[in-house]
Every structure is written in structure tokens, then in C-alpha cells.
């Protein structure tokens, strides 16, 4: 028995070490050996991890960008695999002498608030949430604006008169996209006297279809198949990695297009570029880069809201599906953009961040 137990213990330890090593930090670009003097910017990801091809990816891109611009910045990240990891990961970052802690994702707001209150001397930044503390910089994005354009685009290009959307979780940073999309479709119907139907989201009731996951690609595929079987031909997944499932459906059925979110699909998911009509982009990288560089410069707190006007949000180029979009639609989209910026089109979504 004894040797057997020892062997087991070794195997267990081995397993744990491997398990842990995977969620540890990859070596950052250590240019010199003077990491002690460096400004340590530490990012804590949300569930999808830095390769979710979506908002974690873009936040990490912003971190790396900042490190590239200023060699005195050392960027690292820690991945949250479950919601229970948020607080330990943030705590770890505090303990590990991080100069700036960037929390990615609105779900982390409570944990960030708690730690920022407990450590008023530490600098924090959070994406997709607003925390009113002097040591937290809040970065929010009014994605209802570009999703409005995406909704109009989808309605204008749909041949079946049905478009669909679904979310990862029913939380404001997700439903804001769905709200904007719904309003864009509605605006198209009003303008053109058409009846394009939206499946998967009811803005008035704030009810719709959710995958309950940001990584479950099979669920994304099943959801998309269900929409397509009901006649939808443009799908707008607001679900991080889950949305990759939609692109597999669109690859098999060329009549189906996907509108991606956060990062231009043709860059973040190049293998599926053929399937993307456009992307409701959220310029997280620039916001994060700015936050890191500002924090190194000694800035504290603050809040930013990305809009169409300040290019914090945008609608990506149509890439390979450009032929589907008529010149008329393109002109109308430009007009809509101007109108939203001017305030002549008012977006109703209750999830929009308040401009302070």
C-alpha cells in the first residue's frame, strides 16, 4: 500500500502542477532584467480567456500595445476559469506588486469594487463597468450605437426578412448590443415600410435567447441552426467564443451571414472571414492602452465612454461580403452614423452607460 500511496501523491501533485501552470502567466516580453523597476500592468481576464477572439483578446491586445509603446511597462495576465477566480486573481495581482490592475468584464465589477475599496493605494481599471472610486478608471462603451447600425445593415441585407441575435449571458454589456441591434432593425422597418423580423431578442420585454456560456461553441451552433431553420439568414451572436459555433453554420450554408462583435471578425477569427458581414467593434485595445499609459503617468480614476463620435465603437468594413451591401445601404449607414452622433436618432436601450 505504502508505495502505491506515494505514487498516487506524486501523480496528484503532477496533475495539479500541470493544471496550475496552464492558468499561470505566460512570460511577458522581458526586454531587460530590470523588471523590478518596471511598471507592472496586470490584467485579469473574464471566463473566455485571452483567446476568446472577443473582448478578452482585445483587452490583452491593448495591454501588449501599451508595453510596446513604453518599454517601461510590463504586461501580464491571469485567466479566470470560473467566476470564483475573479477575486483570488485580483487579490493575487494586488499581492504581486502590480502597479495597475486591469479587470476585464462587467461581471468582475463587484470583486473589483471590493478590492479597490480595500486597497485605496492601488490603481485599478475596469472594462465594461462603472465603479465610482477615486482609484478606479472605468472604461465603458456605448455599443448600442454601432449595434444599431449593425441591425440596420442586417435588415437591409437579409433576403428572407428574418434576422436573429443571441447573447452569452443576460447582463447589460451583452444586452446593450442586442438592444441596439433590435432598434436598428426597427428603424429599417419604419424607414422602408418593411417587416423584417428579429428572432432571439425582445427589447421591450428584455427577454431573449441566451447560450448561458461564453465558450460553448456547440451551443452556439445549435442556437444558430435553430434560427436558420426558422428562416433567419443574418445572425448576430453576442456571446464571445460561443459565437464561433455560428460561423461553422455559416460556412456550411453560404446564404447565412454572421455579424461579429467586439473585434473585427476577419482579424480575430481569420479562418471564418468569409462568413462575416461586418463587426460591431468595440475599441477596447485603444482604451486599455490609454488607461495603462495614463496610469503610468500618474493619472488616477476617471471614466470614459466609447461612442461612435470618439471612435470608441464602430462598424467594421464589410470585407468579403461587401458585394451584399448596396451602395444605397452604405450611404444610409453613413447618414445613420451622423444622426446618432448628432442625437437626431435617439437610442432607447436601458443598458447604455451614462455619460458623466
Amino acid at each position: 500500500m505504502r508505495p502505491a500511496m506515494k505514487f498516487t501523491a506524486a501523480a496528484l501533485a503532477g496533475g495539479l502542477v500541470l493544471g496550475l501552470s496552464a492558468c499561470g502567466k505566460p512570460p511577458a516580453d522581458d526586454k531587460a532584467g530590470d523588471s523590478g523597476a518596471k511598471f507592472n500592468a496586470c490584467m485579469v481576464t473574464d471566463l473566455g480567456g485571452v483567446d476568446d477572439k472577443s473582448f478578452n483578446t482585445s483587452a490583452w491586445k491593448g495591454m501588449q500595445e501599451a508595453a510596446k509603446k513604453d518599454t517601461g511597462i510590463n504586461a501580464t495576465y491571469a485567466q479566470s476559469n470560473t467566476e470564483a477566480d475573479y477575486e483570488p486573481n485580483l487579490q493575487n495581482a494586488v499581492d504581486n506588486n502590480c502597479s495597475l490592475i486591469v479587470a476585464v468584464g462587467g461581471l468582475m465589477a463587484d470583486a473589483t469594487k471590493k478590492l479597490a475599496t480595500a486597497h485605496p493605494d492601488k490603481q485599478f481599471a475596469i472594462v465594461d463597468a462603472k465603479i465610482d472610486l477615486p482609484n478606479v478608471r472605468s472604461m465603458e462603451f456605448n455599443t448600442a450605437q454601432n449595434s444599431f447600425m449593425a441591425g440596420y445593415l442586417a435588415a437591409a441585407t437579409s433576403k428572407t426578412g428574418k434576422v436573429a441575435t443571441y447573447g452569452g449571458l443576460k447582463i447589460p454589456p451583452v444586452t446593450i448590443f442586442m438592444d441596439g441591434f433590435a432598434e436598428g432593425v426597427k428603424y429599417f422597418n419604419e424607414k422602408k415600410g418593411k417587416k423584417v423580423e428579429l428572432l432571439g431578442w425582445d427589447e421591450a420585454k428584455q427577454e431573449g435567447t441566451f447560450a448561458e456560456s461564453f465558450i460553448d461553441q456547440q451551443k452556439g451552433k445549435a442556437l444558430t441552426e435553430t434560427f436558420v431553420s426558422q428562416g433567419a439568414d443574418v445572425v448576430f451572436p453576442v456571446a464571445g467564443g460561443t459565437g464561433v459555433g455560428s460561423t461553422t453554420v455559416a460556412k456550411e450554408k453560404p446564404e447565412v451571414s454572421v455579424v461579429w462583435v467586439d473585434v473585427d471578425g476577419c482579424q480575430s477569427l481569420a479562418t471564418a472571414c468569409d462568413t462575416f458581414l461586418s463587426t460591431a467593434e468595440k475599441n477596447i485595445p485603444a482604451a486599455v492602452t490609454d488607461a495603462v499609459i495614463a496610469a503610468k503617468g500618474g493619472a488616477k480614476g476617471g471614466a470614459t465612454v466609447g461612442t461612435l463620435e470618439n471612435k470608441g465603437v464602430s462598424l467594421a468594413p464589410f470585407q468579403k461580403k461587401d458585394a451584399l451591401v448596396t451602395a444605397e445601404t452604405k450611404a444610409e449607414l453613413e447618414q445613420i452614423k451622423t444622426d446618432i452622433i448628432a442625437g437626431t436618432i435617439k437610442i432607447q436601450s436601458p443598458s447604455q452607460p451614462k455619460v458623466s
Binding site: 500500500m1 502505491a4 505514487f7 498516487t8 501523480a11 496528484l12 503532477g14 496533475g15 495539479l16 500541470l18 493544471g19 496550475l20 501552470s21 496552464a22 492558468c23 505566460p26 480567456g49 483567446d51 476559469n81 436573429a164 443571441y166 443576460k170 423580423e197 428572432l199 432571439g200 425582445d202 420585454k205 427577454e207 431573449g208 435567447t209 441566451f210 448561458e212 456560456s213 465558450i215 460553448d216 461553441q217 456547440q218 451551443k219 451552433k221 445549435a222 442556437l223 441552426e225 435553430t226 434560427f227 436558420v228 431553420s229 426558422q230 428562416g231 467564443g241 464561433v244 459555433g245 461553422t248 460556412k251 481569420a270 479562418t271
Partner: protein, 426 residues
């Protein structure tokens, strides 16, 4: 007189087995009847429930008047409730329970879709149910193979994960989905080998071991993903798809044809494996030995069966099957591997194993039940106008149904007697 004579002796024997389960399901059937009645009264009297097979080429539409159908279902549930409560023997249990559940399901679906502009795409729904059920079928089959021989396998999730990883990696490198499939099976088998060696040879607690193997699989695949795949997705993580196989003739049957006979090759593999394992388990010498080892290893040993060898072999076979199930996640629909992409399906497979009472056919039924309710909730939340039920509740549906099936319909389940107990020759 003769009829009396034959029924009389049977009655007392039947009275003895008054089952609480029957009463419970009887009451439930009455609840179903009440709910159906409410739905039937609420639905507009002229409303039609529309079912469509929305497949390219042919569109078959079936319009059902919702109100009468729902009310008939309510009466059916009422009848079942009355029957089960008046005759509380287990005699009508199985039939009664299935009639009540199916009647309620029909009433519920008709009520949900009885709105203008809404239709249920039947073929796509069946297809989706099968797609969601597939990994569960293979996972619970792995469980059957292991647990019937007396080894608890909690590591199905881990086997899925390594299967998915190896399938994507080898499938991409070799540009062959079949190679990916074989690699996935081999990777699952490798975890099976670890489980077998540690559980059977070194007598490690099997549940703890399973949990650790899951962590190992998650850590290892995440690590390799970051090191290999993330850097060059085109080269290492763009798996091909194991194509569909259309059975000529049969696939032309309306409604069920495309769902059953125009499927991913994985579907045929799964169905074949269910049949093979079922026949093998109950009609061959291997099966008899497996079951003997799982129920009473000492007795099996005394007639010369090499208990631990039988277990070892079964765990490895289970690993192969679970690895195939894992490969489905990636090369089943050309989806790139991602960290923890199996999202707990291996644990649901474990629940399905119990719902299916450690029987391959039961596992198939349980997996299909889960897949169907999952697909149904997806459909209900996605239809125009949405479902009257909040999305959070809809998302719970498959799990509620599974719990209900385990607790209510399946009743007392009995695992193989020596399940999880290592055999040490005394």
C-alpha cells in the same frame, strides 16, 4: 368464474407492491392535467399550432388546431392520474408515466407555438436534439463499459477534452478527419489507461482519481493549446469535418428521414456502438463476465475469471468510446479546439448513465431526452415573440427534466454491486 379464479390470486400479490412512486407520478399526472387544462383554456380558440419540416427541397406543413389538442391531452393526463391513483400497483406505472409525460409535452409545445407567425421546424428540431445528445450518448456508453465491470469513471469529462484536443490537432496536421477520430479515441484511451492503472493496480479511490484526471486533462490541453495551437491556428487548429453520410433512399422519408438517415458519421458510430455494447453486454460471454465482475468479483474470480484483467480491458474500451465522443466536439462540425470547450458535458453524461440505469439502451434514451429538452428550450427562446417563460427558467429545463427523470420516473436505481470497489484477491 374462471376469470375470477385467475385474477384473485394475483391481486394480493399486487397489493403488496403498492409503490410510492406510482402515487407520486399519479399526482404529477393530475398536476399536468391541471396545467394542460389551464393552457387549453387560455389559448385562443381559433389558434393553430404549425409544424413544418423546413428542409431544402420539400416543405411539409401540418396545422393542428391548438385548443382541442391541448384539451384532449389534459383529459389524457387526467385519465392517467386517476388510473395510477386508483390502482397503485406498479402495473401501469411505466405506461402511465410515459403517456402523461408525452401528453403534457405535446400540450406544452402546442400551447407555446399557437401564435400567428410561429412554427416548429420539426426536422431541424430533431436534428438539433441529436446533435446535442451525441456526446452524451458516447460519454454514457463509456460509463456503462467501465461501471458495469465495477470501475467508477468520473473522468469522462477529461476524456472528452483530450479527445477533442487530439481530434483537432491530428485532424488538422494530417488534414484527415478520420485520423483525427482515431487520435481522439486513442487520447481518450490514454486517460482510460491512467484510470485503469491507478484504480485497479494501485487501488486509488476512484472518484477522487476521476476528479484529478479531469483536472489533468484540463491543464494539459489548455497548456498545449497555448503552446501549440494558439500560435499557429491555421497549421494546428483548423480541424476538418467528418462528413455526413446520406443513406440513399431512407433519407428521403419525410420528417424523420433527414434526421435519421442523413447524418454525421458520428451518429452512425454512436448508434452502432449502442447496439454493439447492448448485445455484447447481455448476449455474449464477454458481457456475462463483465457483469459478473461488476456484481460479485469474488464469485467471478472463483470460477476462473481474471477480475482485474476484465476491468482493465473494459476501462480501456470505455476510454476509446469517450475519446470518440470528445473528437465529436471538434471534428464533428469543424470547430477549432478551445480551452475547456466540453463545458461539463462529461458530467451530464454521468447523470445520463444513471437515468439510463447502467444500460446502453437506457443511456441512449436518457441522452436523447436531455438533447431534446435542450433543443426545445433553445427553440422556445428563439421563436418570434419569444416564449412566455423567462429565459432563465427555460435554460433550466433540460436539467429539471433530468433530475425529474432520475428521481421520479426511473425510481430506485441500483448501480452494479461492486461499482467503485477495487478487487483484491484475498
Amino acid at each position: 368464474m374462471t376469470t375470477l379464479a385467475t385474477t384473485e390470486p394475483a391481486a394480493p400479490a399486487a397489493v403488496k407492491i403498492v409503490s410510492g412512486r406510482t402515487i407520486g407520478v399519479g399526482v404529477l399526472a393530475l398536476v399536468f392535467a391541471g396545467l394542460s387544462l389551464w393552457m387549453g383554456l387560455k389559448v385562443a380558440s381559433g389558434a393553430q399550432a404549425v409544424f413544418k419540416t423546413y428542409m431544402i427541397g420539400e416543405d411539409v406543413e401540418l396545422d393542428v388546431p391548438a385548443k382541442p389538442v391541448i384539451l384532449v391531452m389534459a383529459v389524457l393526463c387526467l385519465a392517467v392520474g386517476a388510473l395510477l391513483l386508483s390502482d397503485r400497483t406498479a402495473k401501469y406505472f411505466a405506461m402511465g408515466a410515459s403517456v402523461a409525460v408525452i401528453a403534457f409535452a405535446i400540450a406544452f409545445v402546442c400551447w407555446s407555438i399557437a401564435k400567428p407567425g410561429v412554427f416548429l421546424p420539426v426536422t431541424a428540431t430533431l436534428n438539433g436534439a441529436l446533435f446535442l445528445a451525441l456526446p452524451l450518448i458516447l460519454g454514457s456508453l463509456c460509463g456503462v463499459l467501465c461501471e458495469r465491470s465495477g470501475v467508477v469513471n468520473v473522468a469522462i469529462e477529461g476524456q472528452f477534452l483530450v479527445g477533442a484536443f487530439a481530434g483537432a490537432l491530428i485532424g488538422t496536421i494530417s488534414a484527415s478527419a478520420w485520423a483525427g477520430l482515431i487520435a481522439g479515441a486513442a487520447a481518450g484511451c490514454l486517460i482510460g489507461l491512467l484510470l485503469a492503472v491507478l484504480a485497479i493496480r494501485y487501488l486509488v479511490d476512484q472518484v477522487v482519481l476521476g476528479v484529478v484526471l479531469n483536472l489533468l486533462a484540463l491543464g494539459l490541453t489548455s497548456f498545449l493549446y497555448e503552446r501549440i495551437m494558439q500560435r499557429a491556428a491555421e497549421q494546428f487548429n483548423s480541424p476538418p469535418k467528418l462528413g455526413n453520410w446520406t443513406i440513399p433512399g431512407l433519407s428521403k422519408i419525410p420528417v424523420i428521414g433527414p434526421a435519421l438517415f442523413d447524418q454525421n458519421i458520428f451518429t452512425y458510430i454512436a448508434v452502432a456502438l449502442v447496439i454493439i455494447v447492448y448485445v455484447g453486454l447481455f448476449h455474449t460471454r464477454w458481457g456475462l463476465r463483465t457483469r459478473a465482475v461488476g456484481e460479485h468479483p469474488a464469485a467471478a474470480d472463483s470460477v476462473g475469471i481474471r477480475v482485474n484483467w476484465v476491468r482493465f480491458r473494459n476501462v480501456l474500451m470505455g476510454g476509446l468510446v469517450a475519446g470518440v465522443g470528445g473528437a465529436f466536439f471538434t471534428i464533428g462540425s469543424a470547430i477549432a479546439f478551445n480551452k475547456n470547450m466540453t463545458v461539463g458535458k462529461g458530467f451530464i453524461a454521468l447523470a445520463v448513465l444513471i437515468v439510463g440505469r447502467w444500460n446502453p439502451l437506457g443511456a441512449l434514451a436518457g441522452a436523447l431526452l436531455f438533447g431534446f429538452t435542450d433543443q426545445l428550450q433553445i427553440f422556445l427562446s428563439s421563436m418570434p415573440g419569444g416564449s412566455p417563460i423567462p429565459s432563465q427558467f427555460l435554460s433550466m429545463l433540460p436539467y429539471v427534466v433530468t433530475i425529474f427523470a432520475v428521481a421520479g420516473l426511473v425510481g430506485k436505481v441500483r448501480a452494479p454491486a461492486a461499482d467503485g470497489v477495487p478487487y483484491v484477491k484475498s
